[in-house]
């Protein structure tokens, strides 16, 4: 039982990170119907920029409390990545908006390689130590219940809390505000939206900026949890978050959140119980296989994902 709670906590932590990144994929897809393959690398740049800011701030004001340092680094990284995402949109996607679907896909992969190479040159190819600014000291959940109580820590709890509140804020933004209405209108039909006085370009730029900022946030939270950052760190969360977005129904915000959390939980519980359930035939080596089997099963019965709307009606 305590193992179960522990795996739930593990899954919730990775899942909320996947969800944050998945939002970036899904928002862009919802509006432009393209997959922004450079998104994972924006996360990586966010973490590394955050790391540099932390180093600078700590060198300049050593007495500053760690929470403020982290906050400062997060805000700078989010701003940098928002700008970066907008630049990516301008350089790699805008000219290709009416090109065949493959073209933006390829240019996205190109940008991804470019970002990795730049990061390798700037921050070297060695993994960098990411300082521990929030405590990782174990907090026991349901202490005393058994020999191995489930353990969590401030960093993980903060990550989950921030991720969930950001998701709620985003939902409110999209569903309750004028800007959100404009965004949904552009997603539905850019031509008609522009006839109604909405500038699709402006909406697209803001969407990319939000996606980039969320990726930076996820990058910093990832680096704080695992204590390291390197030029290649965007690859895995990028792939996983993309999977999560598809699982939940790409183009759908709630779907991305649900997909992210589900994927995290499936992975943790799969690792935890697959071995025991199959008597060691399938162990943690099938963790990814298991996650993708779930994805395939969902897509067989619901081709547009768990919460995805059918796209056939789109003009």
């Amino acid at each position: 039982m305590d193992g179960f709670i522990q795996q739930l906590l593990n899954g919730l932590m990775t899942g909320s990170l996947y969800a944050l990144v998945a939002l970036g994929y899904t928002m862009v897809y919802g509006i432009l119907r393209i997959i922004n393959f450079a998104h994972g690398d924006v996360l990586m740049i966010g973490a590394l920029v955050g790391l540099s800011v932390i180093r600078l701030v700590q060198a300049a004001w050593p007495a500053l409390p760690p929470v403020l340092v982290l906050l400062c680094a997060t805000l700078v990284a989010m701003a940098v990545c928002a700008v970066l995402a907008v630049v990516i949109e301008r350089v790699a996607y805008r000219r290709l908006r009416h090109a065949p679907r493959l073209a933006p896909l390829i240019s996205g992969i190109g940008v991804s390689l470019l970002l990795q190479t730049i990061a390798m040159l700037v921050w070297t190819r060695n993994p960098q130590m990411f300082p521990q600014l929030l405590s990782l000291a174990p907090i026991e959940v349901l202490a005393g219940a058994s020999a191995h109580p489930a353990i969590t820590n401030v960093t993980a709890l903060t990550t989950i809390a921030i991720a969930l509140s950001v998701m709620v804020a985003l939902l409110v933004l999209v569903e309750r505000t004028r800007f959100g209405r404009a965004m949904r209108a552009v997603a539905e039909n850019p031509q008609v939206a522009s006839l109604m006085g909405i500038s699709p370009n402006r909406i697209i730029v803001i969407t990319f900026a939000i996606g980039g900022a969320l990726a930076a946030l996820a990058g910093i939270m990832m680096a704080s949890n695992y204590g390291s950052a390197h030029f290649y760190m965007g690859f895995l969360p990028g792939i996983k978050a993309f999977t999560a977005a598809v699982l939940g129904g790409i183009g759908n915000l709630k779907g991305a959140m649900l997909g992210g959390l589900l994927l995290g939980l499936i992975e943790a519980l799969g690792t935890g119980y697959l071995g025991a359930a199959t008597n060691g035939v399938f162990g943690s080596n099938y963790q990814d296989v298991f996650a993708f089997i779930v994805l395939i099963a969902v897509l067989v019965f619901r081709p547009s994902g768990l919460l995805g709307e059918r796209l056939a009606t789109r003009a």
Binding site: Q7, M13, P138
Partner: protein, 379 residues
């Protein structure tokens, strides 16, 4: 048949060339290949220094081969630690008429170069390449004088049982050829010794979140956790072990001992145990004397692998002198059967060309530094 004939012909032509050279100015060329430029240049230079020292000491004894006075001479080539360049410089060494080669530095360069030396029929003694694959290509001209990675798993298993007295062991590997091979050998070794693998878990070489597998491991109450993988992942793994309140120490066998590990572990690597092939200089039988000679000659400290390059040349020269011939066809059988007392320990080869009974140094993180604590293997 055809290739055999060709090889024999080349070998013959080469040996006659080599002996012709030896006759002309009584010089026997020995090749050295390593990264002399690029990011690993200091390591290559260190190898070259060690090899040169061995050449000088051999010449100081005024060696005679087949009744003639000879002088050994080192020919260095720079492979930039790049597999493609390694093949080119290997060919260049062969063309220059070396009778044997010490090199290359790592497994990636030693493997492709081995074919060139094999085709030329001359010995290649790799000082520090630890990938088992290098000697698994079936070339009878490939030798190594450091324990390979599979040995690492074997010796680590032994150490876990006998010294650490571990009985319930959890094993994780990163599913790379290196990590999985290491973990499999380790499991074989501890199971043969009667200990139990309570949990066998897998991650991949990009995994950064070890919480899920560690939660499984924690429920099994292991007294040791073995990881087949390298520093960049071992450090976050060590941190997560501490954070989940697991008391069992983490152990590795190759690829752990580095500054990267200490930096990434952020003071939570304390107590981690790791094996590395070879002995620390102070523990080598001839370590002290070698260190002194090196310092006198080069006015600098040993970087890393100089003793192994020194022994690589030493064992080649010993085989040539014992066979009383610079002809590879004559000295190769001698080299295969040799038992040579080098500064790094006794050098003898098994059927594949691996060092027999390799020694490993056990390191542990104490006060955030890797400290050698004992020696495993050997004997």
């Amino acid at each position: 048949m055809n290739t055999l004939k060709k090889t024999a012909l080349i070998g013959l032509a080469l040996s006659s060339l080599a002996s012709a050279v030896a006759q002309a100015d009584q010089t026997v060329l020995i090749g050295l290949a390593g990264p002399l430029t690029g990011p690993s240049a200091r390591i290559g230079k260190d190898l070259e220094n060690g090899a040169q020292l061995a050449i000088d000491q051999a010449n100081a004894k005024h060696p005679k081969i087949n009744g003639e006075a000879v002088t050994f001479k080192l020919v260095s080539e720079d492979d930039q630690s790049d597999p493609r360049t390694a093949v080119t410089v290997a060919q260049r060494l062969v063309d220059e008429g070396v009778v044997g080669v010490v090199g290359h530095w790592n497994t990636g360069t030693s493997i492709p170069a081995a074919r060139v030396y094999h085709d030329a029929g001359i010995a290649q003694v790799a000082p520090v390449a630890t990938g088992h694959a290098y000697t698994q290509q079936g070339f009878d001209t490939s030798f190594r004088i450091m324990g390979h990675d599979d040995d690492g798993g074997q010796v680590a298993g032994d150490y876990a049982l006998k010294t650490l007295k571990a009985q319930r062991i959890a094993v994780i590997d990163d599913r790379t050829a290196f990590g999985q091979g290491l973990a499999d050998q380790f499991v074989k070794s501890i199971e043969a010794g009667g200990a139990k693998v309570v949990s066998r878990e897998y991650v991949d070489d990009k995994t950064i979140d070890f919480s899920a597998v560690l939660t499984n491991i924690r429920s099994q109450n292991p007294d040791l956790i073995f990881f087949g993988g390298v520093d960049a992942q071992a450090a976050p793994l060590a941190r997560r072990i501490k954070q989940l309140g697991i008391k069992a120490p983490l152990m590795g066998a190759g690829g752990f001992v580095s500054q990267t590990f200490l930096q990434l572990a952020q003071n939570e690597g304390e107590g981690v145990i790791a094996l590395e092939p070879g002995l620390a200089i102070a523990q080598m039988p001839g370590g002290k004397a070698f260190e002194q000679a090196y310092k006198e000659r080069y006015k600098t400290n040993i970087e890393l692998h100089a003793p192994f390059a020194y022994d690589g040349v030493g064992v080649l020269v010993a085989a040539i002198e014992k066979a009383d011939s610079v002809d590879p066809q004559k000295y190769l059988p001698v080299l295969r059967a040799i038992s040579y007392e080098g500064v790094t320990g006794t050098i003898a080869f098994d059927g594949e060309g691996n060092l027999k009974k390799p020694s490993f140094t056990v390191y542990q993180v104490k006060a955030n530094q890797w400290q050698p604590v004992s020696v495993a293997g050997g004997q």
